[in-house]
């Protein structure tokens, strides 16, 4: 297809399916914890606002979760179908980590999800809250294992290669490999941040439409607290992650900074914009700030980082893509910090809920967290190239022997299907968001517990006849 090789098609297939997939778990991680907080607040304060918000976000969570499950199933099989040499070589490490993810996380989520979504009238409030907590815990445990696996591919250790395959010799070293703590913190916080922006955008949008109900205000308020705390925290974690990458994968840092070579005794500038040219080994049209690169990457004046020319051409990742995907992530991160600080300022001034310009900004930032997650993953994964296991196995040696025809056919199938299925699902989620949290006084019985929260509102997501 389009003159692409089987290797390129397999990489596109993996990149496409995993990019679609990661959107859903990111929201799942964030919303599950948010729902646990909402239910906890409701049980504690018995304020119906929290119940209404729980009810509202749990229907959106259900749609999102289903899409995460089915798109994740594809990932579990793709290592074997498309990357069979990688699997037979390194499955002895990534297989056990994935198996632990299934055993400790997927079953936990799936086992308690039914009770969480459909069990309101079947179990007591305490047990229901427990189910929500288990689902939330499952999402975080899942992130831990899969990021251990991914981080091991980025910074492998604790193994030997014996007889042409990886043999793990120290599991603690395998799991707690050098980049794992940073990647885990960065991704978990990213999921919370992306969810906060999504929830915040929903609240802001409803306020712009003049629906200033207590639930809508609470939603925006909680999301903006989260953003102002977590966005700066993410900047600090990202900085630490970058230094860790510099120590273990310097070629990735050189590529994403468009930094080709050092001049002895000179500091590294920060290139704000430019066009890294892989063939010419230079960054064209560079707009740079002197010294700042040294300051950010080495935390001191005059510090140097390896230039991309110090690596053999065959070992260099694509700087043109990395330079821009990295800047997209960082740029969005700066906007998130700005949103959080602005929200705090307006809250202090008592104008959080009625500053149209701010509400518009918050609405537009709704997908920013997810976009930043995608940009960040593109950066770290393309930055690992040309290796699938960094420094150990090259991507071109990992791919199955499928023909370009077979790969093109399945890739076309996945692309068409993903856009129809997940496009529809995302549109349903947005329609549910647009319907807004409902308040139903009759939903609570005399114990202050909902009778039928999930069946009280009609399911069909028609805006005009939603039946509220």
């Amino acid at each position: 297809m389009f003159g692409l090789t089987a290797l390129e098609l397999a990489r596109i297939q993996f990149g496409f399916t995993v990019s679609f997939h990661i959107i859903f778990p990111a929201i799942t991680i964030g919303l599950a914890s948010y729902l646990a907080v909402l239910e906890g607040l409701w049980l504690w304060k018995e304020d119906a606002v929290y119940r209404d918000l729980y009810r509202f976000w749990s229907t959106i969570f259900a749609v999102n979760f289903a899409m995460g499950v089915v798109s994740g199933l594809v990932m579990a099989y793709q290592f074997g179908t498309n990357w069979s040499y990688f699997s037979s070589f390194a499955g002895s490490v990534t297989g056990p980590l994935l198996a632990y993810e299934v055993l400790t996380a997927f079953f936990l989520e799936a086992g308690f999800l039914g009770v969480m979504l459909f069990g309101w009238n079947k179990v007591g409030p305490g047990l229901h809250f427990f189910a929500t907590l288990m689902v939330a815990a499952g999402t975080l445990i899942s992130a831990t294992w899969i990021l251990a696996s991914n981080s091991w591919m980025q910074t492998p250790q604790g193994f030997e290669v014996i007889g042409g395959r990886v043999v793990p010799v120290d599991w603690l070293k395998v799991i707690f490999n050098p980049s794992f703590p940073y990647r885990l913190a960065h991704m978990t916080v990213a999921a919370y941040l992306a969810t906060a922006l999504f929830v915040g955008a929903s609240g802001a949008w409803h306020l712009l439409r003049g629906r200033a109900t207590p639930a809508v205000r609470t939603m925006l308020s909680m999301a903006m607290w989260m953003t102002v705390v977590v966005a700066p925290l993410q900047v600090a974690i990202g900085d630490a992650h970058g230094l860790n990458t510099l120590a273990h994968q310097p070629a990735k840092i050189a590529a994403l900074e468009g930094h080709w070579q050092n001049t002895p005794g000179e500091s590294v500038p920060l290139i704000l914009f430019g066009w890294p040219d892989m063939a010419a080994e230079t960054t064209r049209y560079a707009v740079a700030i002197p010294d700042l690169g040294s300051l950010i990457l080495t935390h001191r004046w005059g510090g140097q980082i390896p230039g991309l020319k110090e690596f053999a051409p065959d070992d260099r990742p694509n700087a043109t893509i990395l330079f821009w995907s990295f800047r997209a992530m960082v740029g969005l991160g700066v906007l998130m910090v700005l949103l959080g600080v602005w929200g705090l300022w307006l809250r202090w001034r008592g104008a959080l809920y009625d500053t149209p310009l701010f509400l518009w900004f918050a609405t537009l930032m709704g997908p920013a967290g997810l976009a930043a997650i995608l940009a960040g993953w593109l950066t770290t994964e393309i930055g690992r190239q040309p290796w699938v296991v960094y420094g150990v196995m090259r991507t071109r040696d990992a791919v199955s022997n499928h023909s370009a025809l077979a790969l093109s056919a399945t890739l076309a199938l996945f692309i068409v299907m993903y856009f129809i299925v997940f496009g529809t699902g995302i549109s349903y989620m947005l329609k549910l968001v647009a319907r807004g949290p409902a308040h139903d006084d009759h939903a609570a019985d005399d114990k202050g517990r909902p009778a039928r929260p999930l069946s009280a509102a009609p399911d069909a997501v028609e805006l005009t006849s939603g039946g509220e």
């Binding site: 198996a99 079953f107 043999v167």
Partner: protein, 335 residues
């Protein structure tokens, strides 16, 4: 160490796959039965009987894939790349039907029929692809130098197409008997009436596979028809016959759970028959579980977790089923 790790792992993976076949079997079966039930309310009831548990059922399939990669990476690599196209079709089917659980309740009136279709077609495609994969697995794979060495369409044989159709029938039976247990009234009567012919068709399918397999696979023939194996394994076909009779009888009476239990027994017997035929090969026809085993460090590390955690999984899965026990009636939508 005296522990035979590959053996233990073969048992765990065999158990996991059996759990998958049984549990996702009945909820895929519900999609397979959709064309036979057209009333919207009945379809909602059918879906609601599995809505709280389907996700957990499907997790056994993920466990199968992950455990295979952990314990037998070579088998994971060879089998999955050999079955690339049928597995891609299976995943596509599972995607359509998986999202349909939610979407058919969330769609506008005008689009609900589309997601009903997606639910039914997705279930058929997933079940059929799994059956095809099973047939191709029995047929075996061409392996050279530790990698799959056959063509992209080697899995496509009359035998694999037959096992594909056979698995659709088997899941339909599980689905119908599940609904006999979980529903009442007209829908239950309809399922009772449907389950009988499906049982008989399944018996014919089992008989044909039981003849076809040894006829075309000499290894399988010698496993079943040499002494003393023929005596040892004789209970399997005998029990298949007895449980079929029991099933037909139970369907004719006012029973609720009995048909489902007997259908599970029938599936379990068929599954054991296959295990007997193929043992100890994890990549038929020649690579055994010991040849394809991961390093002991991988198997041991994962085994500790599996043996400790799987009992908990079984307990809370059982609890979830217990919470949603009893009949699901029309209008009692969880949604």
């Amino acid at each position: 160490m005296g522990i035979d790790l590959p053996l233990l792992w073969a048992i765990i993976i065999g158990f996991g796959l059996m759990m998958y076949v049984i549990m996702d079997g009945f909820d895929l079966g519900i999609g397979i039965l959709f064309p036979f039930v057209t009333a919207r309310a009945d379809r909602d009831t059918m879906v609601n009987t599995v809505a709280p548990v389907w996700d957990g059922n499907e997790t056994w399939l993920v466990l199968g894939g992950a455990a295979l990669m952990a314990a037998f990476p070579l088998a994971y690599a060879v089998i999955l790349s050999a079955l690339y196209l049928p597995l891609a079709a299976m995943l596509a089917g599972l995607i359509w039907r998986g999202v349909a659980f939610e979407f058919r309740f969330k769609a506008d009136e005008a689009h609900k029929w589309f997601w009903d279709q997606a639910f039914a077609w997705g279930s058929y495609i997933a079940a059929f692809s799994q059956g095809v994969a099973l047939g191709a697995f029995i047929d075996g794979f061409k392996v050279t130098g530790g990698a799959y060495d056959g063509g992209a369409l080697d899995w496509l044989t009359p035998f694999s197409l037959f096992t594909g159709a056979g698995l659709v029938i088997a899941y339909a039976l599980l689905g119908a008997t599940w609904l006999v247990m979980k529903t009442d009234g007209a829908l239950q009567r309809r399922m009772r009436a449907l389950a009988r012919p499906v049982t008989l068709v399944l018996l014919v399918v089992i008989a044909i596979v039981s003849l076809w397999t040894p006829l075309t696979h000499p290894q399988v023939a010698s496993r079943w028809f040499s002494f003393p194996e023929i005596v040892l394994f004789a209970p399997v076909p005998v029990l298949v016959g007895l449980s079929t009779i029991g099933l037909v009888v139970a369907l004719g009476r006012d029973t609720h759970a009995a048909p489902f239990v007997l259908a599970l027994l029938l599936l379990f017997l068929g599954y054991s028959g296959l295990a007997i035929s193929l043992w100890p090969h994890i990549i038929p026809p020649a690579i055994s579980i010991w040849d394809a085993a991961a390093p002991p460090q991988s198997m041991g590390f994962t085994l500790v977790g599996a043996l400790f955690i799987i009992p908990f999984i079984l307990v809370y899965t059982a609890w979830s089923y217990y919470v949603f026990r009893g009949k699901v009636t029309a209008g009692e939508g969880y949604h």
